[in-house]
């Protein structure tokens, strides 16, 4: 059964059909040239005066054939790309289900468990408060996951009509870190700013904060160091402003540099369940960078050696 499957591998099918097509084009021309030269020889023998026309015909025929084959090739290629896309989407969907089964069911399980416990027993007030706190955290977690999915749908539609205003980036970052202090308690965050200390940039506050929160929580979540550290460098340039986020987290392999921005992509295999989280965070970050006409890249010297995320935004004219 496996061997039959292998025969239908799309890349193989694609390769074979392209080879067949190119070979047929070659043979058409070869035969045509053969036949027409035979014809020409025959005409010469019988002294017919049509040489001019036949010669012109040869090229027209070859041209038409090439165009037709070229069109078919294009068609095959497009179908090939589409089929690849479909398999990719299928894999994405699978990933999505795997990730969200865990992400959605865990807090729901916890909530149901405590609610049923509460209805079953009369717990002392102190215990009650402790478990209510747990439930609130679970609700937050659930709300976070739901928000991420909804935000993604909004951002991906490209018709995002948020308000973009010019403001001081350094100020925004500082204020954001202060306001969300409770989220980054375990992490030491240092902001390195240029001498000027104000960098004006056209941004959407809400989206930019979403980007910050995703990058920073990733640095904390995917971190085996004793104390997570995050350094944020704001470096204004002539054409572009560079913001570098350097962490001491688990890093990633070179080949995963681009992949980590893919929707639902997660480092770690899905079969051993070492992957956790929604796989949406960095995809959101990338979309946000795009909406700001900027870009984001990731670098890491390797597993366990931290990583650097660089956000590039075009400077104001």
């Amino acid at each position: 059964m496996k061997q039959v499957k292998w025969l239908f591998h799309p890349i193989l099918v694609f390769g074979l059909s392209v080879t067949a097509l190119v070979a047929s084009l070659f043979l058409y021309i070869y035969w045509y040239v053969g036949v027409s030269s035979g014809l020409r020889a025959a005409m010469e023998r019988f002294n017919l005066e049509q040489e001019q026309m036949v010669a012109a015909d040869t090229w027209v025929v070859i041209l038409v054939l090439s165009i037709l084959i070229g069109t078919i090739l294009m068609g095959i290629f497009i179908i090939f790309v589409f089929s690849q896309k479909t398999t990719q989407l299928y894999r994405l969907q699978n990933n999505f289900i795997n990730n969200f089964t865990h992400e959605l069911k865990t807090p729901v399980t916890s909530l149901q468990l405590y609610l049923q416990t509460f209805s079953k027993y009369e717990l002392p007030r102190a215990d009650q408060l402790k478990y209510i706190q747990y439930m609130l955290l679970d609700v937050n977690r659930l709300a976070g996951t739901i928000n991420r999915i909804l935000n993604l749908a909004k951002l991906e539609s490209k018709s995002y009509m948020g308000e973009f205003v010019v403001c001081d980036l350094v100020g925004v970052i500082h204020r954001f870190l202060e306001e969300n202090n409770h989220l980054f308690k375990s992490c030491r965050i240092r902001v390195h700013t240029p001498v000027i200390n104000t960098v004006y940039q056209r941004i959407n506050r809400h989206l930019f904060e979403m980007l910050l929160i995703n990058i920073i929580t990733n640095a904390i979540k995917y971190n085996n160091a004793e104390a997570p550290v995050m350094d944020i460098f704001v470096e204004p340039g002539r054409k572009k402003t560079r913001i570098r986020f350097v962490d001491n987290g688990i890093g990633f392999d070179r080949k995963e540099m681009k992949k980590i921005f893919r929707k639902f992509y997660q480092i770690g295999r899905s079969d051993d369940m070492s992957a956790k989280g929604s796989g949406l965070g960095l995809h959101l970050v990338q979309n946000i960078a795009r909406l700001h006409n900027g870009s984001i890249t990731a670098e890491s010297p390797g597993r366990g050696q931290g990583s650097t995320f660089t956000l590039m935004l075009p400077t104001l004219e």
Binding site: T101, P107, S110, Q116, Y134, L137
Partner: protein
């Protein structure tokens, strides 16, 4: 008469769920231990010898199904209940095939969990009252000219009568239960030794060398313990 308190081990990485179950089981009068990952779960199981284990599948370190197999190599009777977010029939079958006693999908009903736990514990105690030991279903096993006695931890092979260590017995059992199916080094380490993935894999190879010396007529050309390149090892024999 006051019966001795039943001990339950919960291996679950989500603290909220683990504590919630612990709270309920404690209120029911059980003694409950928590483990947040696979490695400590296995250690706790060995140290505490609980009467029941509640096991999550998605765990850091060693996953739940490997833990289950590891336990089953040493104890066929210990009731294990899987509590997992994966509730598809395929996942349930995977768990049941590996010897889990009960399977509950998250989110679950509290009352249902408590009743199932009670039932499993009751059944577990019957087995113990019968006086039969909790050792696995096979006592002796023969392949080729070799004969292994799991009760006395001895083997008769081409080297004569030898005694086997606890670890050797465990790895042998793992191979025998997977007869004809390849086992990767990772699987062997996780199930046989209870190591997480990061450990170096020389240990496994050393054991295989030893097994071949014991049981193969020609250790250089193994018949029973075959290496599969880039996959792992395969144990098989004609019956």
């Amino acid at each position: 008469m006051d019966k001795p308190q039943k001990r339950i081990l919960i291996i679950e990485d989500d603290l909220h769920i683990a504590e919630g179950i612990q709270l309920n089981l404690t209120l029911q009068g059980y003694e409950v231990f928590l483990s947040a990952d696979g490695v400590s779960g296995l250690n706790q199981w060995k140290a505490m010898r609980p009467d029941l284990i509640i096991l999550d599948i998605m765990l850091p370190g060693i996953d739940g199904l490997s833990i289950l197999q590891s336990i089953r190599l040493e104890d066929e009777r210990l009731p294990v209940l899987i509590l997992s977010a994966k509730g598809d029939p395929d996942d349930r079958i995977k768990g049941l095939a590996l010897g889990v006693d009960d399977y509950l999908a998250k989110p679950f009903n509290l009352e249902e969990l408590l009743l199932r736990v009670e039932r499993l514990l009751k059944r577990g105690s019957w087995g113990r009252d019968n006086g039969t030991s909790a050792v696995s279903h096979f006592d002796t096993y023969a392949f080729g000219d070799n004969r292994i006695d799991f009760k006395t931890h001895t083997a008769r092979c081409r080297m004569g009568e030898i005694s086997l260590t606890e670890q050797e017995v465990k790895v042998l059992k793992l191979f025998i239960t997977h007869r004809g199916k390849p086992l990767s080094r990772d699987q062997l380490l996780q199930i046989g030794w209870g190591y997480s993935r990061k450990t170096s894999t020389r240990t496994v190879d050393n054991f295989i060398v030893r097994f071949r010396k014991y049981f193969e007529d020609d250790p250089r050309n193994p018949v029973y313990f075959k290496s599969l390149r880039s996959i792992g090892y395969l144990f098989d024999h004609t019956s």
